[in-house]
Symmetry: C2
Subunit: 355 residues, 2 copies
C-alpha cells in the first residue's frame, strides 16, 4: 500500500477515483463516457452547476460573489488578477512569502506598479512576515495563504486597508474561512479540489470592470462569469472529478470537520519532528503549515537513507523541493491519518536503528 | 448502442476509454491513479514526451518547429496568436469563414490592426471564399481549416504571401497535411486529439520573439516551449488520454489511413443526402466538410420528427447548431463507418415512411 504525500497533483479519495474511473466508461448511465459528451448537454451542465453550488455551500460564499471554473492554473491567475484589477498607472501590493508569490509579483508588473510590502526571503522563506504597511492607494493586497515549497501557512489572515486577493491553491477547503474577508480567491484544482486542469476563482462582483483596460475574452472574469464558466469548452473531466471530490468533502462533514482532521494529522507529524532527535522542523513554529509539513535532519547525510527507508514503508512523495531541501510531507484532505501514522512510525524506527 | 455524432467534446475510441478508465484506478501499474501523480514524476514526463513525439511522428513535423500542449482551448489561442505574433502598429490578415474565425478576429484586434480579407457571411458561411488579396505587409494570415457550425472545410490550403496561421481544432489528424506550409497550427484537443482541457500548438520557432511586447509567461509560446509544456502543472489527464488516442491513431495506420476512412464515411453520408429527396446539403459542394456534415430537410417541419427517429436508432448529437439549423453529423476519427451506415439507413427508412 502506498501513502501518497505528494505535493500536487495529489491524493484524492479512493472512492472519487472509483467514481471517476466509472464515469470514463459510462457517465451517469448515459451509455457514454464523460469524455465524449457535449459540455452543453444537460447532464454536464448539471455537473458544472453542482460543482459551483458545492463550492458556495462548503465555503459559505456570500451574496455578491461569483464562483467560476477556469483553466490555466494559479499561474494564469497571476496574470488575470492584475489584468482585471490593476489599472495602468495604479499600484498593487504583494507579500513575498516564496516562489509562488514571487511569480505573482513578476506577472503583475506587466500591468501596473507593484509594491512588495515585505518578504521573508532573508530566512529562505521560513516564516510569514507580520509587520508591514500597505500603501493607502493600493488597488489590492495579494498574498499566498500556504507556501507548499517552504511549509508556511497563514493561520490568521492579514488585516489591511485594501481589497484582499489570495492565492489559496494549496489550503483552500482544508479549513473554515470567511470568504467575505476576501475580494478574490483563486486556486489551482490539483490539491484539495480535484485533478489538474481546472482552476477555481471566487470573486466579489463589485471589484470588476474598473480598470478601463480592454481584456481578452478568455482572461476577462466578467465574461467568464456571464458565460457561467462556459465561455468555451471547459475542462470537462477536471470539473466532473472536482464535483465528485467536493461531494465527498460534504459527506465528510465539510470544511469544519476536515479542518479538525487536518489539524490532528499535522499535530501527529510535528509532534514526532519535535520529539525525534534526528529531525527538526524548518519553519517558524507559529507559521507551520498544516498542509505542507517541511522538515530536515540534524545530520543531512541521513536524509537519503531515510528517504529510502520511508519509501520502503510505502511513504512516497516526501522529498523536499530543491529550493528548500530535506522533506516535505503534504497532508491534503484525502490523505488518511493512518498514512501519517505510518510515516511517524518510520521516523521512530529509523531513529532507533540510527541511535 | 449509441452512435455519437456530437460536435465535441466528441467520441474517442472505446479502447481509449478503457485504458483511460484503468489509468484513473492504477496508472502504469504504479498503484497510483494518473490523477494523483506529480507532473514531474518520470512516469508522467514519459507520457508528455510520448504525446509530443506522437504528434511529431503522425504529422511529420519538420525540424525547426516546436510542439506544445497548453490549456484554454482554441479560444485562448485567438489571444495568444496575436499577442505573440502581431506587434503593435502592425497588421494581420484574417479570413472570415464563420463563428470561430469571427471570434479570432475580435481577439486579435486588441493587439494590432486586423484586415479581414474576405468573408462568406453573405451566404451564412456556406462556402469558403477563394478570391482575396493579403496585404503585402501582413504579419500573418489566419484561417479556420474546418468550420464545425456551418460544415465547410478547406480541401486545399491558401497560398498567400504571409506566414500561415491555422485554427485546425476540428480537422487536425483527420488527414495528411504538410506542416511546413504553416507557421503556426493550433487545436483544442476535444475532437481528434483527446478530451477537453488540453490545447495543441505546433509553431515554427523562427517566427517567435519579434513583437517587442512583454508577454505574460503563461501566454508566451517561447516560455512554454522552453518549459517543455510544463511551465506550470499541465492538464495531466487530458494529455494522458491524448497520448492514448494518438497511440490508437498510429496503430490504425496514422493520418493517411484514417484520412481514407474519413473520406469513405463522409462520402457515404453526402451520397445519401444528395440521393434522398427529403434532405439537402447546406454548403457549397466543393467546400463540404468531411468532419462536420451539415444538412437540412426540404420540408423543415419534418426536422423534429427525423431527429426523434434518428435518436431512436441510437444516432445522437446530430441536431444542427442554432446558427445554422438543420442537422450536423460530426464524423471524427473515432466514429466507426458502421455508425454512418446506421444514420444513412435511418434517413432511408424515414424517407420511405414519409414518401
Amino acid at each position: 500500500m502506498k501513502h501518497n504525500f505528494g505535493a500536487g497533483p495529489c491524493i484524492l479519495p479512493q472512492e472519487v477515483f472509483k467514481q471517476a474511473s466509472q464515469g470514463v466508461l459510462n457517465f451517469n448511465d448515459t451509455g457514454l463516457s464523460i469524455l465524449e459528451i457535449s459540455h452543453r448537454a444537460p447532464e454536464f451542465v448539471a455537473v458544472m452547476d453542482e460543482a459551483i453550488s458545492l463550492v458556495k455551500e462548503l465555503l459559505n460564499v456570500p451574496e455578491g460573489y461569483s464562483v467560476i471554473f477556469l483553466q490555466g492554473g494559479a499561474s494564469l491567475q497571476f496574470t488575470m488578477v492584475a489584468m482585471n484589477l490593476l489599472a495602468e498607472g495604479k499600484k498593487a501590493s504583494y507579500l513575498d512569502t516564496g516562489v509562488w508569490s514571487k511569480k505573482a509579483v513578476a506577472e503583475a508588473k506587466l500591468f501596473g506598479e507593484v509594491e512588495v510590502v515585505a518578504s521573508s526571503k532573508d530566512k529562505n522563506y521560513s516564516y510569514i512576515p507580520k509587520e508591514y504597511q500597505v500603501a493607502a492607494d493600493s488597488e489590492y493586497f495579494h498574498f499566498t495563504s500556504n507556501n507548499t515549497i517552504f511549509g508556511t501557512e497563514f493561520h490568521s489572515f492579514p488585516k489591511v486597508n485594501a481589497p484582499l486577493v489570495c492565492d489559496m491553491s494549496s489550503d483552500i477547503f482544508s479549513k473554515e474561512i470567511n470568504v467575505a474577508d476576501f475580494d478574490l480567491i483563486y486556486a489551482g484544482a490539483q490539491k484539495n479540489i480535484g485533478p489538474a486542469g481546472a482552476t477555481l476563482v471566487i470573486v466579489k462582483d463589485s471589484i470588476l470592470g474598473k480598470t478601463g483596460r480592454a481584456i481578452p475574452s478568455m482572461l476577462d472574469y466578467q465574461k467568464q462569469i456571464e458565460a457561467e464558466s462556459m465561455y468555451n469548452t471547459p475542462p470537462v473531466f477536471s470539473v466532473f472529478v472536482s464535483m465528485l471530490n467536493l461531494r465527498w468533502l460534504k459527506s465528510k462533514g465539510g470544511v469544519a470537520e476536515i479542518g479538525k482532521e487536518n489539524i490532528a494529522k499535522a499535530k501527529a507529524l510535528y509532534t514526532e519532528i519535535d520529539r525525534n532527535p534526528l529531525f527538526k522542523g524548518s519553519t517558524a513554529v507559529e507559521d507551520r503549515s498544516n498542509m505542507s509539513v517541511c522538515f530536515v535532519m540534524e545530520n543531512p547525510e541521513l536524509e537519503k537513507p531515510f528517504l529510502k527507508y520511508a519509501e520502503e514503508k510505502g511513504c512516497i512523495g516526501i522529498k523536499g523541493h530543491r529550493s528548500s531541501g530535506g522533506f516535505r510531507a503534504s497532508l491534503y484532505n484525502a490523505l488518511p491519518i493512518t498514512s501519517v501514522h505510518v510515516l511517524v512510525e518510520a521516523m521512530q524506527e529509523f531513529a532507533e536503528k540510527n541511535a
